[in-house]
């Protein structure tokens, strides 16, 4: 390594260094370094499960879910931001920043169980149906796609037999895993799914997707209207309460830990010098004695014998006189099991005498005063922490009460609104569990159209009507940005709002970019993703292309591509990117 030597470089002033402190820059840099949590394999592995188990343990220990019947339903821990599963090969979310989160349910594979999703879909898992280690828990992960923007964000293929795209009436993805490994279903004991559908009717059929190639095949399902009664029950979102309670518990634990540490902290004795003992001037390395690090100036004095008989004192004096009379070339202080020892060294011998560290130049009165002040400060700190702890416990209780009130409201709502044929069962489940499953919906509606099917495979299921692709225009469409520069298109998506269908064009699909087209009489929105992942869009493309066969699209940087943005594009006439 090449090394340069500088002599007497101009020193830098502290004020300059302080002026260059920039914690925001550090935080931004750190955030840029941090990989998304869902990319971390540990999230899906033992740590993920351990965290889930910890949350559940805390919740159960505090009787949070009062009166739960574990055999019917098992509690769910929800953190929507962190619930993205590793997608199957043909399902790739449109952006790294955003995916549709899974709801997670923990099931004991020995006993099976039933889970109810936020949309009111019910999955009934018979005993022994899940082929997994019977001594462990299984996580069932479910997500439903309520509209084209969600299916698009998640990257679910929506083409059928190369000529059509699906108009969706409801789609559900169900996965099962144990310790981060996918599990399967016993073919003799299929699971039963009672799925909430958004739409059904003429032309709608039920399909299952092949995970490997994204192709859909027809799948047996009993679609029915269970009641004509319109169900509008809205479930409150309790996930915030759950996370608040967990946070408060962590704070309480920290508080308690700090109190314990403060109480047990050893009160260091002041190193009070004796009035008459002889001092010894020794250079020593304070770093060698961490217990002395708190004291600014320490020196040593000879340690008088414990038993100060005449004989002992005489021997003690002789040793000191001997030490004083000899020529030593080095002195070293060390610590034995209890006492400090100074060792004098010369070429003939090493001569040791026990010593005691004392504070330099301190009066007894001043030391006593300092000790009292330190004790008082510590006591004040303990009292403050105790008060903080009590306040947190109160907040914890209040949140639990709020949660229980909400649960009771749900029970009442379920009894009032659920269609008659399901009323009893749903209400029973809800009462039995009072858990997150049945109440953990954020503004979801119960639909009165249901699809009942059995499956012995996890995967994606869909109630859809195939809609034919529009014929290509005479000339290929050019996609340009607002500066008139041609976009390097990787994929183009036409959202036909009249037919509630997404037509896909590009290298990932059978339909090539040059075939890009739409039905002009229908209201459609065009979304294009370029090779870098930036998104471009144009709403109401009905009259396009213009004379030069070009469509001008607005740009949204890849960092802003997420479900919310896509929903806005598909539902509003304008958007601020």
């Amino acid at each position: 390594m090449k090394t340069k030597f500088n002599l007497d470089r101009k020193p830098l002033d502290s004020s300059f260094i302080q002026s260059r402190q920039d914690f925001d820059k550090v935080i931004k840099g750190y955030q840029a370094m941090k990989p998304p949590l869902w990319k971390n394999p540990w999230f899906y592995g033992p740590v993920g499960l351990a965290s889930l188990a910890l949350v559940l343990t805390i919740t159960f220990q505090n009787n949070f879910f009062a009166g739960e019947n574990n055999s019917t339903l098992v509690a769910k821990a929800q953190n929507k931001d962190n619930q993205t599963l590793e997608d199957t090969p043909c399902i790739k979310s449109v952006s790294e920043n955003s995916d549709i989160p899974f709801e997670k349910f923990t099931i004991d594979p020995k006993n099976g169980g039933k889970v109810i999703t936020v949309n009111g879909s019910i999955i009934d898992i018979p005993k022994g149906s899940l082929l997994a280690d019977k001594n462990g828990q299984v996580t069932i992960q479910v997500r439903e796609f309520a509209d084209p923007s969600e299916a698009f964000t998640a990257g679910i293929p929506m083409d059928f037999e190369k000529t059509s795209a699906f108009e969706s009436g409801g789609m559900i993805e169900i996965r099962g895993e144990q310790n981060g490994q996918a599990i399967s279903i016993d073919p003799k004991k299929p699971i039963k799914v009672d799925m909430t559908l958004q739409k059904s009717g003429d032309g709608f059929k039920f399909w299952a997707m092949n995970d490997k190639n994204g192709e859909w095949t027809e799948y047996p399902c009993n679609i029915k209207e269970v009641s004509s009664a319109k169900v509008t029950t809205k479930f409150p979102d309790n996930s915030k309460i759950i996370s608040q309670v967990v946070e408060i518990k962590a704070e309480i634990e920290n508080c308690e830990k700090e109190i314990v540490e403060l109480k047990k902290a050893e009160e260091k004795e002041a190193l009070i010098p004796s009035q008459s003992a002889r001092k010894l001037v020794v250079e020593f390395d304070q770093g060698s004695f961490p217990e002395l690090a708190g004291y600014k100036e320490v020196e040593f004095e000879y340690l008088l014998p414990k038993d100060q008989t005449q004989a002992n004192m005489s021997a003690f004096k002789k040793r000191i006189e001997y030490a004083s009379s000899q020529t030593w070339y080095d002195m070293d202080v060390s610590k034995g099991k209890t006492d400090y020892v100074v060792t004098f060294k010369n070429s003939k011998e090493n001569f040791s005498i026990p010593v005691k560290p004392v504070l330099k130049g301190k009066s007894l009165a001043k030391l006593d005063q300092e000790l009292k002040k330190a004790k008082a400060d510590k006591q004040t700190q303990i009292v403050k922490l105790e008060e903080e702890r009590i306040a947190l416990l109160k907040r914890d209780q209040a949140l639990k009460l709020k949660y229980e009130t909400e649960v009771n409201d749900i029970k009442n709502q379920l009894n009032s609104y659920v269609p008659a044929s399901q009323n009893q069962e749903l209400a029973q489940r809800s009462v039995a569990s009072t858990s997150a499953q049945s109440v953990n919906a954020a503004g979801a509606n119960l639909s009165n159209t249901r699809g009942n099917f059995l499956t012995n495979n996890f995967g994606v299921f869909n109630c859809d009507k195939p809609v034919s692709y529009p014929k290509p225009f005479n000339q290929p469409i050019l996609c340009k940005n607002e500066d008139g520069v041609r976009i390097n298109v990787a994929g183009a998506y036409v959202f036909d709002q009249k037919q509630n269908t997404r037509f896909t064009f590009g290298e990932i699909n059978f339909h090539k970019i040059q075939d890009l087209a739409w039905i002009k009489r229908n209201k459609s929105t065009l979304i294009v993703i370029d090779q870098k992942g930036d998104l471009y869009y144009k709403q109401e493309i009905n009259d396009d292309p213009l004379n030069d066969s070009a469509v001008i699209l607005k740009r949204i940087g890849r960092e802003n591509v997420n479900l919310e943005t896509i929903q806005k594009i598909l539902s509003e006439n304008s958007i601020t990117a």
Binding site: F5, L7, R9, Q21, V26, K34, E283, F284
Partner: protein, 190 residues
């Protein structure tokens, strides 16, 4: 022998620091007080070993980013956070040298040379100082680091051990050997 006052803290300061660390482990944005406390000394450690001030500031930022990234794994072992930060700083600094982004520089003052000449039981005159300055260049990087930390920066053996990942005793022995080597070069030059 003087010691680095920032390295040695009393128990109240260490406890206060532990509180900051616990909060930062929960929320990295709460690392602010630790950043303010240690920014200058980490910067000085880095700048002491290189020539470019702006680059030293960049590497300092990089050290704190790494610290934020790993703060969750930090365990208190009775030493202030600075020893852990120094280890990160050393690693980042030498990475910059390896990547040839920065030039390894030894910055020393005349007073350091005078003290070292005295330490070698030689006359404290300009000639000897110049000679010492010249023989320092014969030391290898490891010995140079030890001489820098011990005799130019006046750090304790415990702290040197923490920074260089050595035991305190080993740091002491190695520093002594480095000094002996330097003495030999010095005498040979006469």
């Amino acid at each position: 022998m003087s010691v680095n006052p920032v390295y040695h803290q009393n128990s109240a300061k260490l406890e206060e620091e532990q509180g900051w660390i616990r909060r930062a482990q929960k929320d990295p944005e709460k690392f602010g007080p630790l950043y303010q406390k240690y920014h200058e000394q980490i910067f000085r450690y880095i700048y002491q070993r290189m020539d470019d001030r702006e680059q030293a500031l960049d590497i300092t930022s990089q050290v704190f980013m790494k610290a934020l990234k790993n703060i969750k794994n930090y365990e208190f072992r009775g030493l202030p956070l600075s020893s852990w930060l120094y280890r990160i700083a050393k690693s980042e600094l030498y990475q910059a040298f390896r990547d040839q982004k920065a030039l390894r520089t030894v910055n020393l003052e005349t007073v350091h040379l005078s003290n070292m000449v005295l330490e070698m039981d030689e006359d404290q005159n300009t000639e000897n100082r110049d000679k010492l300055f010249s023989v320092l260049k014969n030391l290898n990087e490891k010995d140079l680091q030890l001489i820098e930390l011990r005799y130019f920066e006046k750090r304790s053996y415990k702290e040197i051990g923490e920074i260089l990942d050595l035991t305190e005793n080993n740091a002491k022995v190695k520093s002594f050997r480095a000094l002996e080597k330097l003495k030999k070069y010095f005498i040979d030059k006469q």
